[in-house]
């Protein structure tokens, strides 16, 4: 456990080195968030009764999405890992006395968390200071907030576990570009990153909400904006736990199988 912790720390400090990049990123995300909200505002004006959630809830959803983008974006890949598979550097990693799945898992967590922690506070703060319907609102109850944090942690782990499966599949194709793009765009839409899931037609939404992708950002953000409430919260979080277990198991199996018959590329 200790070696994973120190590995986590190393990655974390590494991520903190790029402060200017983070500032540029914060501004970018703020603009994206604003445009997103303005777009939804236009639709809201066109027909308020067709809007599936409160407008203020939507604003909170968008701000959280931007603030914690680094935790939940499925298109964030670590090029080094792909490179190590492609160039054969993976052989070194295999020599180390650590479980490669756990190490990469920790690495993913650390990379994303260090990015998110740097970026989230300014965005959340600015979002909070905006005028009323566009601002980030605080939840009424502390319990909601606690549940939100727990669910966010679960969702975060689901994202990392999903990524691990894709890394695992990369062992089978030398050029990972294709698998990566297909899997990320699939996840992006089904997790509610393009439009929040409540905006989907009811029948489609009922199916989509059961998929692992809905266990990513959809659940925590909607708990926060109280779009999911009451016993639905526990149901949704249970689903998150189940998917997390399934994804980790599948990821481990794929990885072990791949490592069993690995051909190291390059010399």
């Amino acid at each position: 456990m200790k070696k994973y912790l120190s590995f986590f720390r190393m990655r974390f400090i590494n991520g903190f080195q790029y402060r200017i990049a983070a500032l540029a990123g914060i501004i970018t995300q703020f603009v994206w968030g604003m445009m997103e909200i303005l777009m939804f505002r236009a639709f809201y004006r066109a027909n308020p009764s067709a809007f599936p959630m409160e407008f203020s809830a939507l604003s909170s959803y968008v701000w959280f999405q931007q603030a914690f983008l680094a935790l939940f974006m499925t298109w964030f890949w670590e090029k080094e890992l792909f490179e190590s598979i492609k160039t054969g550097n993976i052989a070194y990693e295999l020599c180390r006395p650590v479980d490669i799945y756990s190490m990469w898992f920790v690495r993913g967590i650390a990379n994303r968390a260090s990015k998110a922690i740097l970026r989230c506070i300014p965005i959340l703060l600015t979002g909070y200071l905006l005028p009323s319907p566009y601002r980030l609102v605080l939840p009424d109850h502390l319990s909601v907030f606690v549940l939100f944090l727990m669910s966010m942690l679960l969702g975060f782990l689901v994202v990392v576990a999903y990524g691990m499966i894709i890394y695992g599949l990369t062992f089978y194709t030398v050029n990972p570009m294709g698998i990566r793009m297909v899997s990320q765009s699939l996840a992006e839409f089904l997790s509610g990153a393009v439009i929040p899931l409540p905006f989907l037609p009811d029948k489609i939404r009922a199916v989509v909400e059961l998929l692992p992708f809905a266990a990513m950002q959809n659940v925590p953000f909607r708990i926060y904006s109280q779009d999911i409430s009451g016993s639905d919260i526990y149901q949704a979080m249970l689903l998150q736990v189940i998917w997390l277990i399934i994804l980790v198991t599948v990821g481990k199996i794929i990885m072990n199988k791949a490592l069993g018959s690995l051909t190291v590329q390059g010399g």
């Binding site: 445009m35 303005l38 236009a42 639709f43 599936p52 050029n175 570009m177 793009m181 765009s185 393009v194």
Partner: protein, 258 residues
Amino acid sequence: MKLYMKYVGIHIRSMMQYKISFLFTSIGQFLVSFNVFLGIVFMFKRFSNVESFTYSECLMCFSIVLLAFSFAECFFRGFDEFASMIGNGEFDRIMIRPRGLIFQVISSKLELTRIGRIVQAIVMFCYAVSKSQIHWNLYRIITVILMIAGGTVIFAGVFIIYASLCFFTLDGLEFMNVFTDGAREYGKYPINVYGKNVLRLCTYIIPFALFQYYPFLYLCGKSNQVSLGMLPMLGTLFIIPCSGLWRLGIRHYQSTGS
């Protein structure tokens, strides 16, 4: 031109070494913007119109922006990876060759995988044309062509700005994404959807609205002024300050790398 075709040939041949990967990447590109399309479909299923624009009109608007962006990206992709070109000293090599700098940067990278995106844009464009109730006449056809061409030039200008800034920062600025990927993404709806301030910004600072919103008003019959349809030509003037910035950057350039 002959030299450019030669470059194109080399890129195609090198890409064909990995046929399956090429296919997958193209499909991937196709899917990425397909997401945006799905978003539009579902939003309009719920709301029938936005700022008096209908589904088919927005689709038309989006496909034009996507076409312009994909063309610009396909040919000017070299500028997008310019940061690494400066970073590893590749640009020094380019400077000692007896050909135009812009030309060489352009031909250093050709993204044929963007073909997925172009194909999708064309398919969507055809679909939008068949669905739309536009009363076609010669002026409107010219307007569409101007919108696509003008958009390509403006996006190219943005790519050049992006690259020029690398001379000063030595690293790509993530912020510029707002004007490249962001403009593509948010160009799916006519710009006035985002309110007056954004429209003003996109008219006077970076002229996205000149090839998107204003000519589009004429195209879908919301306005009868033919002059609106000719605005993309005005927008292409944007390339002048962009290339000015590029020249300034070159003068400022100090070699990095080893």
